[in-house]
């Protein structure tokens, strides 16, 4: 595709300069004259019935305007991605320590915060349920969901049991080679830089207007309208530019609470969580316990795969059922198993609220599966790369879950590309280069696939408006949110390419229910594919209008750079603007992501992105510390739209995979109290932890469904690095990492026991 003008180059992001100079306003920068400030009253116990909320003393404190509680909620006192189950303000019970019981509104933040302890809540304390297995299996544990909530069993959010073929028959065959292991993954906190914020006000038209930490403004508008009992047209949501999200902001936190306060007081109210509050309340990556059994024949052909798991969903349904289904869908990874059995339950507990996190349930199972692949290869005496390649799914075949899939052919070539990496070619030299006898080196791989878009779980569409302006420039608007991932720049590049205009002739607007159409959520690695295709449709319409109009006056009309070549003369878009009737100045494109051929008991995708990752690590056998020395990530996600953005995503994904592998561990005690309250004890990698060699090698095969062949890469790049690292630890010292993170302590204690 050498004729492409913008796609595939290194283009500096549109918002780069305004970000580094501090000019760009994030929601937390917003100041409205005279606005009030809210401070949250959180549950003081993780599980209790509320008898009484007494606000009298708080109301007397200086500067306090009001204390908002459930009584002030005009509509449904609940919200949540898979059902309005999280209370805006708790009424009958609290179910975790991040539950909001009330909000003190005062003239200053300091006044509001200092009155929080004066709100007195009388509780009948209930048993804390913090063990996810016991929560579901022991019916004498206290029930967590609110009365009347439908569940899949005692304290059970959902359950899936799905089989293809017959795994038992395979496992019973004495000739097969079986690897059977337990794996465990931790809660993970997103640590976006901008902690959760909401600023709500009632504007001069009497509409509720809200700026906040949000990843899907149009859905948030619907939810807030329900909470407020207002028509959607009465609610305006501005999400625009966020200081990071990584999926967590897909779940709202304090935004509905702020909306209720602003509406009641008919005054602007700002609520901004500090780091500790954000850690306490925001959705974490769901922790899992897996029991995995994988079988192959003696030649190394995979035969059967069984995954039995429980997950801890925390106090709310939230996005848990969708995440859980995603795990099931991805449990066979990039491999072809004729027989699978997947069975899992997800529990309610009083622990952290769980939800979406970059990778959405794939990271956990990918780590377990890729560990199994290495273990099986070792048992078979096979090279683990050959073993993987031999069992990969092939284009045209259905996936192990039996549905058909599209996508690029990148996976098929990825094995050879990995064999060609410097690290792989020099693996023996790499391993021999450890400087001290107590430093042990190893290399490891991981492969992942990741569904792009919502799957057939829910409607998956994106709308883009394209508007031609008088001076000939186009504005491209869509409800996607810019969280740092670069969606604005990606849309800009794709629009300029499709429109065939100078780069500065495109303006991109995002993330606002007032000025941009519904893009679907900015989640699921979907924006490049969906917004790119929707604007493609819109520009096609625009170009048809233009050509039709021009053909009235010219004989030969052809799209050219910055306009149309008409009988040898360039008619610019500014001139075309004048020729077109006003109703043709704005066009809309709506794109639906194609669905796969089957509806399974869990939503499945048609389009997937792939990624391979190879790393070289060094384990210090005296301290248990692991350093990733070299890393090469090889995403196979179609065309590179912007080389800079692509590398940024892949390097950031590498660091996230490294954190999940080696250090990130959000912990609570048995009473569901957070132990890792802030960044002092919750460890995320720093630049000093990044590998000295950190290469990004795109496997650029065309994603047939995507704009200019581009697919979705946001998530898949943070997944295979984790098992690559744990597999490299195995290669270095022989330890199979059974529980993430592979902290120095776990590694050293394993070494002591296995010396």
């Amino acid at each position: 595709m050498s004729e492409l003008r913008y796609v595939g180059r290194k283009i500096v992001r549109d918002d780069g300069l305004t970000k580094v100079t501090g000019q760009l306003t994030y929601p937390s920068d917003l100041k409205i004259d005279d606005m009030y400030h809210g401070a949250l009253v959180f549950a003081s116990v993780p599980h209790a019935l509320i008898n009484d909320i007494n606000v009298e003393e708080a109301l007397k404190k200086p500067g306090v305007i009001d204390v908002i509680t459930w009584k002030d909620v005009p509509g449904i006192n609940g919200f949540g991605i898979c059902g309005p189950e999280q209370p805006v303000y708790c009424k009958e019970k609290v179910r975790y320590l991040g539950d909001v019981v009330a909000m003190v509104v005062a003239k200053t933040e300091r006044q509001a915060r200092s009155a929080v302890s004066k709100v007195h809540v009388d509780y009948t304390v209930l048993e804390t349920v913090s063990d996810s297995v016991k929560a579901m299996t022991d019916s004498s544990t206290e029930r967590i969901p609110l009365p009347g909530t439908e569940t899949a069993g005692h304290n059970k959010i959902s359950r899936v049991d799905y089989s293809v073929g017959n795994v038992e028959k395979i496992f019973n065959d004495p000739d097969v080679i079986v690897a059977e292991n337990d794996y465990k993954t931790p809660y993970e906190e997103h640590v976006y830089l901008e902690t959760d914020i909401a600023v709500a006000t009632v504007n001069e038209n009497g509409q509720l207007e809200l700026w906040g930490s949000l990843q899907y403004p149009h859905l948030d508008r619907t939810e807030i309208a329900h909470v407020m009992d207002l028509p959607e047209g009465q609610v305006i949501i501005h999400a625009g530019y966020q200081g990071g999200g990584f999926g967590s902001k897909h779940d709202m936190t304090i935004q509905p609470a702020a909306a209720v306060a602003a509406w009641k007081l008919k005054h602007a109210v700002r609520v901004h969580m500090n780091r500790e509050e954000s850690f306490l309340t925001s959705a974490k990556r769901v922790p899992y316990q897996f029991h995995v059994k994988t079988a192959a024949d003696k030649e190394g052909h995979l035969l059967a795969h069984e995954v039995v798991f429980t997950a801890d969903g925390g106090p709310f349904v939230a996005a848990n059922p969708a995440i859980f289904c995603f795990t099931i869908e991805h449990s066979a990874g990039v491999y072809r198993f004729p027989n699978v059995h997947i069975e899992g339950d997800i529990a309610y507990t009083n622990n952290a609220h769980c939800g979406a996190f970059r990778g959405f349930g794939c990271n956990q199972i990918c780590y377990a599966l890729e560990s199994q692949m290495d273990e099986l290869a070792a048992k078979l005496g096979m090279d683990s790369l050959d073993f993987r390649e031999m069992n990969q799914i092939r284009t045209g075949q259905p996936l192990s879950m039996t549905h058909r899939f599209g996508g690029s052919d990148g996976l098929a070539v990825s094995y050879d590309v990995v064999r060609n990496t410097n690290l792989y070619k020099n693996k023996e030299a790499f391993k021999a280069a450890a400087a001290k006898p107590y430093l042990k080196r190893g290399i490891g791989f991981g492969w992942a696939l990741q569904g792009v878009g919502m799957g057939n779980f829910c409607p998956d569409y994106c709308i883009v408006d394209v508007k031609l302006h008088e001076d000939g420039h186009f504005s491209v608007s869509t409800g996607a949110v810019e969280m740092g991932q670069g969606v604005v720049t990606t849309c800009h590049i794709l629009a300029a390419e499709k429109a065939q205009v100078s780069y500065d002739q495109i303006q991109v607007l995002v993330g606002d229910t007032d000025t941009t159409p519904d893009a679907g959520g900015t989640v699921a690695s979907r924006s490049t594919l969906t917004a790119g295709n929707a604007m493609w449709i819109a520009f096609d319409t625009m170009q048809d209008y233009a050509a039709e109009e021009l053909k009235k006056s010219y004989r030969h009309v052809a799209l050219d750079f910055d306009g149309y070549l008409c009988d040898g003369r360039l008619v610019t878009w500014a001139e075309i603007y004048k020729l077109l009737p006003p109703e043709k100045h704005t066009v809309q494109g709506k794109y639906h992501v194609p669905e796969t051929n089957k509806h399974l008991p869990f939503g499945v995708h048609y389009i997937y992105g792939y990624c391979a990752h190879i790393v070289g690590v060094e384990v210090n056998t005296l301290t248990g510390q692991t350093q990733v020395i070299e890393s090469e990530i090889l995403p196979a996600v179609g065309t590179v739209v912007n080389r800079l953005g692509y590398e940024g995503q892949a390097e950031g994904g590498t660091s996230m995979a490294l954190g999940y592998a080696l250090m990130e561990d959000f912990r609570m005690d048995q009473e569901s109290r957070v132990l890792t309250k802030n960044l002092q004890t919750y460890m995320v990698p720093t630049t000093k932890d990044m590998p000295r060699v950190c290469k990004v090698t795109p496997i650029e095969t065309i994603e047939r469904e995507g704009p200019y062949g581009a697919g979705g890469m946001g998530e898949v790049v943070c997944i295979p690095g984790t098992p690559a690292i744990t597999n490299a630890i195995r290669d270095a010292i022989g330890m199979t990492v059974r529980e993430l993170p592979a902290s120095p302590e776990k590694v050293l204690m394993w070494l002591r026991e296995n010396a």
């Binding site: 933040e109 300091r110 915060r113 107590y438 005296l622 301290t623 248990g624 510390q625 350093q627 080696l662 250090m663 912990r667 132990l675 890792t676 002092q680 004890t681 460890m683 990698p685 720093t686 630049t687 000093k688 932890d689 902290s743 120095p744 302590e745 050293l748 204690m749 002591r752």
Partner: protein, 274 residues
């Protein structure tokens, strides 16, 4: 939310001592310990005395009578690059290089690190191992306190309210300390140590070891030190010595067992490599 009653920047040592004698102040060095503590609710309504302007008086490193003298206001960043420190007390330079992040190293001071009295203060093991003392000054005069005796328990010191720490004196007899400083954590920067130790030696004073984050205060590891004088010691010998030298606890960052194991491994390594 910072709640302070007063902030004052003193312009001379005399003024500082005078004010410290009259009223209760919280001395503010780089503020990298105090400010986060205030955010967490400590030092409510404190009167802060900023001593940054005393940099001329308290900010130098020099050799005095064969000893290395380090001013209280020296920052970690200055110490890690200081030629005298690098030559005579290299483990201290190394420890300073591993404190926090560039921002923290440029603000945080050595006196603040010691007076904060955290068992995880990175500069403390080298100072304790070398037998360094701190000079405390007040209107009533001065006194020298061994660094090992400054902290009585986490966050508490023997410093009197009217005293200011002015400098540290590291005994050298004109000769350099050599050795290693190990800091164990789960990542390579911005890491409060899980366990750390300085294993140093000096032609006149012999081998000295001090360990941090494995007890309420940083202490010499006397039993382990003694083993360095003997030949043929095994890892088990060191494990038994460490059992007496340190008393770590389980906390959210690591278990006591890990702390014991890792320090035993490291000290035994240095014994083998000595």
């Amino acid at each position: 939310m910072l709640n302070i009653s007063k902030y004052y920047r003193v312009s001379s040592l005399e003024e500082a001592l005078d004010l410290l004698n009259k009223e209760t102040w919280k001395i503010l060095g780089g503020g990298t310990d105090i400010v986060p503590q205030m955010r967490a609710g400590a030092h409510k309504d404190a009167a802060l005395m900023d001593i940054q302007l005393l940099k001329n008086e308290l900010g130098s490193v020099e050799m005095r009578d064969g000893d290395l003298v380090i001013g209280a206001l020296c920052t970690h960043e200055e110490l890690r690059h200081n030629d005298l420190v690098k030559e005579y007390m290299p483990t201290l330079a190394d420890a300073c290089a591993h404190v926090g992040s560039p921002q923290i190293r440029k603000r945080g001071t050595i006196a603040g690190n010691v007076i904060n009295a955290s068992p995880a203060g990175d500069t403390i093991p080298s100072l304790v191992a070398a037998g360094a003392s701190a000079r405390f000054l007040s209107v009533n005069g001065e006194r020298l306190v061994p660094v090992e005796d400054i902290a009585t328990r986490p966050g508490r010191t023997v410093k009197e309210d009217n005293e200011l720490l002015t400098e540290f004196i590291i005994p050298l007899e004109g000769k350099a300390w050599k050795g290693t400083y190990d800091k164990v954590g789960v990542r390579n920067a911005l890491q409060i140590s899980i366990a750390d130790c300085a294993v140093i030696s000096h032609p006149d004073f012999g081998v000295r070891i001090a360990c941090g984050s494995v007890g309420p205060t940083v202490k010499r590891a006397l039993q382990s030190e003694a083993l360095f004088a003997k030949e043929g010691m095994t890892r088990e010998d060191f494990a038994s010595a460490m059992a007496e030298d340190i008393c770590p606890i389980d906390d959210v960052r690591a278990s006591a067992a890990y702390r014991r194991e890792v320090l035993t491994n490291l000290i035994y390594l240095h014994y083998q490599e000595r």
